[in-house]
């Protein structure tokens, strides 16, 4: 008897107890149609049950294994969770913290806004990521620890920005007034788009989310690449390396979420390293196969240690931490 696909689907859902009430009724009706149908269903049900015991055919000694495992794990029965006391005390602590915060902000304001810079306005994201609206309505998400300046005549002829660190830009379209970002090595020019610029001492990176971006060397803009949606490039010592954007993890510092969907280990490690700003090494053996091991996971607001533990557990690779640096080995 050749079953049609629909009946087969009903059967396998019912076997795994996943059929809805309607599906159950439909299957029931089919079974009651004929003795042959009923027999066919019974055959499948039996195969389903028998195959389970058949596959788990080899009998492992669970008791012996448990004794083994018990020996290896440090079972400490009395871990005590300490409870914090003294709300008054912590309130006072909070007041002190607030005062310090204000002091820092005031200090930052003094340094950045009262200095002799008449030509450039500077803004810094000292303690947290910062969202900055530029005079023309363009938006910059500035990563914690980065700073951005814009010219006083911003928007008159063109739109000029200086960036130290990392920022995500959503630029208002305006073909007459190009938007130009300079870092210490690179010049990034756009007409209207959203993209990321990451700049440090040795290299600059641009990741384009939408639109078109011209990414050039600062001193010689004839050395450049044009990037479009889904593309990225890194500029290191006057050389460009292009690649495609695989995921949104370049914005993890804003979303606080790292997402891996069958991401090769090499890429995942790059993303994690970039987000937590921690160096991660791969040993030669791991590096050789880092493209063939893939990860599927989502980390939201987790610590680097939690993320590394998870990766260790999911891949079976060994991860060691020394002086805040991680090494992944076999």
């Amino acid at each position: 008897m050749e079953l049609n696909e629909n009946i087969m689907q009903l059967i396998i859902r019912s076997l795994n107890r996943e059929a809805s009430a309607e599906e159950h009724a439909e299957l029931e009706a089919w079974i009651n149609e004929s003795a042959a149908n009923r027999q066919e269903y019974e055959v499948y049900r039996k195969l389903w049950e028998d195959s389970a015991t058949m596959i788990a055919d080899y009998d492992f000694d669970t008791t012996a294994a448990w004794n083994e495992v018990q020996k290896k794990i440090q079972h400490t029965p009395a871990e005590v969770i300490s409870i914090r006391r003294g709300t008054l005390y912590s309130f006072r602590k909070m007041a002190v913290a607030a005062a310090i915060l204000i002091f820092i902000l005031a200090g930052a304001y003094y340094i950045f806004f009262s200095g002799p810079t008449s030509e450039w306005e500077t803004m810094a994201a000292n303690d947290s990521n910062k969202r900055i609206a530029l005079p023309d309505g363009s938006i910059v998400l500035l990563r914690k620890g980065s700073s951005l300046s814009y010219a006083n005549d911003y928007g008159n002829k063109d739109r000029r920005i200086r960036l130290a660190g990392e920022g995500y830009f959503q630029v208002e379209p305006n073909p007459q007034k190009p938007f130009r970002i300079s870092t210490s090595h690179a010049l990034v020019e756009v007409l209207g788009t959203s993209f990321l610029v990451r700049s440090d001492e040795t290299s600059d990176q641009v990741v384009v989310n939408t639109g078109r971006v011209k990414f050039a060397e600062l001193n010689d803009t004839s050395v450049n690449v044009i990037l479009t949606k889904g593309q990225k490039a890194a500029l290191t010592h006057s050389k460009f390396a292009r690649d495609t954007v695989l995921n949104n993890n370049y914005l993890a510092w804003e979303s606080e979420t790292l997402t891996f969907h069958n991401t090769p280990l090499r890429q995942a490690v790059e993303d994690i390293s970039s987000y937590y700003q921690v160096p991660i090494q791969l040993t030669d053996e791991v590096a050789q196969k880092a493209d063939s091991i893939t990860l599927k996971a989502e980390f939201r607001k987790q610590t680097i240690d939690q993320v590394m533990d998870e990766i260790q557990l999911m891949t079976g690779l060994k991860i060691t931490k020394e002086n805040g640096n991680f090494t992944i080995s076999e």
Binding site: N16, L47, A52, I55, D59, V69, I73, H75, P77, D309
Partner: protein, 187 residues
């Protein structure tokens, strides 16, 4: 709170006892070596106790265990530079069983055919079917674990059952035919 922790430990033991055999059999389908399989499964449990105690009470623990065992087996296979095909042919699974007693020739034949039928399944189909039967997870969980769609899982399960069904049926016919033939020759 010692009693809370004690119960976590007891619960951990329960989870271990509940899944150990199935997980080892699952690992065996990759490694084909019982000792390696046990090592991998025990290692996963040890790491959960040491690093991820919060998983023990999680609803997703079964999903987590099977996925971790699979990944660790694949890593192990890569280490040994073997290709990661799931095999359940007769040579891969040691013959002796201490489970259900095989009390008569008929059951023995039926079991043998069932096992042979499973060995005939295409690799992807076998992998899905094996994980389903061993872990008893929902199709959604299996889909997530293998990173395929629920539709694909259902299709592969259906395909596996049809192949096994056809195989077992053929064998019965074959045996019957052989029996009649022998009867005719000797009779």
């Amino acid at each position: 709170m010692p009693e809370v922790n004690e119960s976590l430990y007891q619960h951990f033991q329960k989870v271990f006892e509940q899944h150990y055999n199935a997980l080892c059999n699952y690992a065996l389908s990759f490694t084909k070596d019982p000792a390696t399989s046990e090592d991998i499964v025990q290692e996963v449990f040890i790491r959960i106790w040491e690093k991820k105690k919060e998983m023990i009470h999680a609803e997703t623990i079964r999903f987590y265990l099977f996925t971790a065992v699979r990944n660790n087996c694949l890593t192990q296979l890569q280490k040994e530079k073997k290709s990661a095909t799931v095999a359940l042919d007769e040579n891969s699974v040691p013959e002796e069983t201490t489970g259900v007693a095989e009390n008569n020739e008929n059951t023995k034949d039926y079991k043998k055919h069932l096992r042979l039928a499973m060995a005939q399944l295409p690799p992807k189909c076998r992998e899905v079917f094996l994980l389903s039967r061993l872990s008893q997870q929902s199709y959604k969980e299996i889909a997530d674990s293998l990173d395929i769609s629920v539709k694909t899982v259902e299709n592969q399960i259906g395909k596996a059952l049809k192949i096994i069904r056809a195989y077992v049926k053929d064998q019965k016919v074959l045996i019957l035919a052989i029996a009649i033939l022998i009867n005719l020759l000797t009779g």
